[in-house]
Symmetry: C2
Subunit: 331 residues, 2 copies
């Protein structure tokens, strides 16, 4: 069956993505801190996708997309738009596969993300996040150049690539004899949670799956409640620059099936999570990358299924943060 | 054959340590950054032992030591002395195995290291690094209490535990089809380099092995040249608090057989390495933990054996750094 036969990824598609990413993406470890577990009263495992190539899970989806039809992308080139992590993921995947890349980025994206996208060899075009219509900008480029759009989340192959995070979590938990009560994914457009919760729900059906969103960008939370695709208010702001995105149609339709809910976090909870990841795990997390960990720390988890300490897995989704911003968060 | 039959670890002893650590220690990944590789003109792989339990490789040696004779240690308790990473490693291993621990630490050790050693449940006794004779202090405790000393590096079982870092490097390189030209280990007392270079020299005989020391604490470098156990000068200082140690007798005798030399690094090279590990790898490294990476970045590597880009593996040995110190290093 090919993609055109049906539009929603199934478990077998995640396995195909994993085969494509084997030996290319980093199999990030599962880490835990006995001291933090003792303090929180839960067993909290961290999956640090900050250690993934390009510093976020986004590399998985971009590489899976490009590698699946590499000949087409090599011939036509790609265009992507992104707040910075998909930008780097697409640029790095394109470089590895010999594909020419143009990336539209908001001018207020962290300078580090812009610089590194360029360093991977992509041509970066800046736009105003709050004023410009980036869909229209991308459409113009596509019309003029024949490039293929590689969406940052609402796309079959991208979601399948991100889903490999969930496959790894399930496999690593099985190897370690761990049966998590819940697994949490940072949620912007919802690609990571859509793909990865499909994997965990398939392989660990008793494990709850949650998204984690910034308080002011809780569109997926509200969409799951209302049953339709909600948006965020124009004036909303958050330090989680990676998560300032409205959920997609495909991602929402998938998340509706596999997420048990969405937890929200404040900026100060995110900063506290970044500091805790530094002290307890020696991990650099960007604000948006720390949202699921922040939610794991602050949520009042019920007793586990087995009536002992609850076990929670949180994906740290990215680590692309400016040195000065990070330094300020630490002290 | 038991330890008493011969005093120098051999390869089989490392494999026994690995079996003891299986499922307890983190198998840390091998990471690389395409952007950094391009900039340096070498392929530089990082083995982040900062992600190990307690934030450094020291957990491996301490756990291997305690687990091998757990009944004895449970009955008698242990005493350890350490600048902070072995302290945490010994305290955490003792907690996991139900062993009572007293740890002597220098009063100028990073507060984070002291606090965390206590948090693992050990009793910490502070002393003056530059004045007190910690051997005498430990001997007194041992005489009064019957506790067993767990040395921080110059000990058969400790070295075998640290050697598992080298086993993992060789195994991960083989899996990835990588044949490194050189592998570098941070070197204080020399336990990591002694054990891990035994592993890499056995499994990858064509790969050179180097220690990395702070310029002012290059006792292992000078000892390898002079053939006898050299010391560091009284006035020597370095930001690498984890490496302010004179080499041991056993570690030196082993390093003599398996190290091809020792590279030295300045404080400013170490700070630059910490920043690079932040930007390129999203890894928090403490100063001493970044020494081998700093040496890898600054050394003028010759063309590889296969006459292409040289491939170098650097162990990042620890990440226990104060938030304020780290923040200052970043900006």
């Amino acid at each position: 069956m090919t993609e055109s036969d049906r539009s929603v990824p199934c478990f077998a598609d995640l396995k195909e993505a994993a085969a494509r990413l084997k030996g290319v993406a980093v199999t990030t470890p599962l880490l835990e801190s006995e001291l933090l577990n003792k303090r929180l009263g839960i067993r909290l495992l961290v999956k640090p996708e900050s250690l993934q190539k390009t510093g976020s899970f986004k590399f998985r989806g971009a590489y899976n997309t490009l590698a699946r039809h590499a000949d087409v992308f090599r011939r036509r080139g790609i265009v992507a738009y992104s707040g910075g992590n998909h930008a780097q993921g697409a640029a790095a995947a394109a470089a590895l596969l010999g594909v020419d890349a143009v990336v539209l980025m908001p001018s207020d994206a962290p300078a580090l993300k812009i610089q590194r996208t360029q360093a991977y060899g992509a041509t970066v075009q800046l736009h105003d996040r709050w004023k410009d219509d980036r869909d229209a900008l991308a459409a113009e480029i596509i019309q003029q150049t024949g490039r293929v759009l590689v969406p940052s989340f609402d796309h079959f192959d991208v979601i399948c690539g991100q889903g490999t995070v969930g496959l790894e979590i399930a496999s690593q938990c099985a190897d370690a004899g761990i049966e998590p009560d819940a697994v949490l994914f940072c949620c912007g457009g919802g690609g990571l949670s859509a793909g990865a919760s499909l994997a965990t729900k398939t392989l660990m059906p008793a494990t709850l799956a949650f998204g984690a969103e910034p308080e002011a960008f809780d569109d997926t939370r509200r969409s799951l409640l209302s049953g339709r695709r909600e948006d965020n208010s124009r004036g909303a702001r958050s330090i989680c620059d990676a998560l300032l995105t409205r959920c997609g149609e495909l991602t929402l339709s998938m998340n509706r099936n596999t997420l048990n809910g969405v937890l929200t976090v404040s900026d100060s909870q995110v900063l506290d999570a970044m500091r805790t990841l530094f002290v307890e795990f020696k991990l650099v997390a960007e604000p948006g990358g720390a949202a699921a960990f922040a939610a794991s720390m602050s949520h009042a988890w019920p007793r586990s299924r087995k009536n002992d300490q609850p076990t929670v897995v949180a994906v740290v989704s990215g680590g692309n943060v400016e040195p000065a911003v990070y330094a300020a968060a630490l002290v």
